[in-house]
């Protein structure tokens, strides 16, 4: 099943995918997806993000693939929903999207081995992990000014139940900018796969339901500008649409 959190006619609703672009609300109504405002499908508790977790992207950024996962955290302020607007400051020369498979934890995980890792997964969604490279500083890099800005992490549209994604380690990802494909990859090329990431993070901290792991992005990042429509899409998980607007 695919779940969403939306605003319709002045109220927030939980909804499920009713097919043909429609959503079923808990109160029995079905509504068209373009009649609703989409919120992130969950309010994440702790968000882990992986840097350089695809071998080709590591090469693109002139880094050697890391020996242990290079994780950082994002705060709750940064998320927006499907079809949202992301603010692009005028003084930034290089701002790029990152299409990422996002794993939602569904069950407490502490010192979990990779063999049991999927037992702790509730489902998956799509994240667009924007970065504003002009603001990079070499302190706790990537610093939060680059990676945890308001509006800069679109998430959604759906939370897709774990069992509806039989092989999350073999999903095609792609990004289009104004309809032109700029990024393409497959989750099989992750340096540290989902079980390895759950094993790693849960080895030194306790994960809880609502925690979110953004698993990194493949090769193919380009600068995007105000007015651009950026679509990050993962096979079987979702197609997340975002528009950049100039930061006033």
């Amino acid at each position: 099943m695919k779940h969403a959190r939306i605003v319709y006619q002045g109220a927030t609703h939980l909804a499920t995918d009713a097919g043909e672009g429609r959503l079923a609300l808990a109160d029995g109504r079905t509504v068209a997806g373009n009649e609703v405002a989409w919120l992130p499908p969950i309010e994440p508790r702790t968000t882990f993000t992986l840097a350089i977790n695809y071998a080709d992207h590591a090469k693109e950024l002139a880094f050697k693939a890391p020996e242990e996962p290079l994780g950082f955290l994002k705060a709750a302020n940064t998320f927006i929903g499907h079809r949202g607007q992301t603010l692009r400051p005028a003084d930034v020369g290089f701002m790029h999207y990152e299409c990422e498979l996002a794993v939602v934890i569904g069950k407490t995980a502490r010192k979990v081995s990779r063999g049991q890792a999927y037992d702790h997964v509730a489902g998956y969604t799509v994240a667009n992990d924007y970065a504003l490279r002009d603001y990079l500083e070499n302190w706790y890099r990537p610093n939060l000014r680059v990676k945890s800005r308001d509006t800069c992490t679109p998430l959604g549209p759906w939370l897709v139940d774990r069992d509806d994604v039989p092989d999350p380690m073999n999903l095609n990802l792609r990004t289009t900018v104004n309809g032109t494909e700029t990024q393409r990859g497959n989750t099989r090329d992750m340096v540290f796969d989902i079980p390895a990431l759950i094993e790693y993070f849960s080895s030194f901290m306790t994960l809880e339901p609502g925690d979110l792991i953004l698993t990194g992005t493949p090769d193919g990042i380009v600068n995007v500008n105000a007015g651009d429509e950026v679509v990050t899409e993962i096979e079987g998980v979702g197609r997340l649409v975002n528009t950049l607007v100039a930061h006033p």
Partner: protein, 229 residues
């Protein structure tokens, strides 16, 4: 899985009264930056910090005054970061320094516990995000604190004074820090912004008890214990 019921629980977000976000400022005491000397301008940093550099203390780190804090087997000692925590009263976005304190509900003593680390190049997830590594003290309402930029801080370990500091040494004082952080990151009601760890944070081991006192704000004390295997 999950059933729609489980989804409803996930969608709602954290249910308790804990802060949604606790975020701290790196190197915000003059002496802490000065202690790095020329290294701040050399690789891997190449230049001293310009904008506030922040780190997150995630939800698994939250603990209370009086809790025992378990040190995992791979952690021999922890640094006791004696932090003034600014608590927000309402959502703060791109706030002017002149109005910044209007957004403050009050202050808390917060212990930012860290596995000691000499490099600040990569995010300190493994060093700062262990379970229980962010004990949070009681709220002192804003009106109880005459000037948040003139508060004496004292850390005692097993009753002995281990550190004295003052928020008078902040590079970005409270209002300026709020203004600069909310330029890029909104903080919401209940969220906590840690103003920084004073230079020369003392260390403690399992079996020891620390107490942090910040004048006009309060006290926070925890015992460190060895985690059971």
């Amino acid at each position: 899985m999950p059933s729609s019921q489980d989804y409803a629980a996930l969608a709602a977000g954290p249910a308790d009264s804990r802060p949604r976000t606790v975020v701290g400022a790196l190197l915000n005491y003059r002496q802490a930056l000065a202690a790095l000397g020329d290294a701040a301008a050399e690789p891997p940093y190449k230049a001293p910090p310009k904008a506030p550099v922040l780190y997150i203390k995630p939800a698994n780190t939250y603990a209370d005054d009086g809790d025992d804090i378990a040190l995992p087997a791979d952690v021999q000692e922890v640094e006791i970061g004696a932090c003034l925590g600014i608590v927000f009263a309402r959502k703060a976005t791109r706030v002017d320094a002149a109005r910044a304190l209007d957004y403050v509900a009050g202050y808390r003593v917060v212990a930012d516990l860290s596995v000691p680390h000499a490099t600040f190049y990569r995010p300190p997830v493994k060093q700062k995000s262990r379970d229980g590594f962010c004990p949070i003290g009681a709220l002192a309402e804003r009106g109880q604190v005459a000037d948040p930029d003139k508060l004496d801080i004292e850390v005692r370990i097993d009753g002995q004074v281990a550190q004295r500091a003052t928020t008078g040494d902040l590079i970005r004082p409270v209002a300026r820090l709020i203004a600069d952080v909310t330029q890029f990151m909104s903080l919401d009601r209940g969220d906590i912004l840690l103003v920084g760890v004073p230079a020369g944070a003392p260390r403690a081991r399992a079996g020891q008890r620390y107490e942090i006192e910040i004048a006009q704000v309060g006290r926070l004390a925890n015992r460190l214990v060895a985690a059971s295997a």
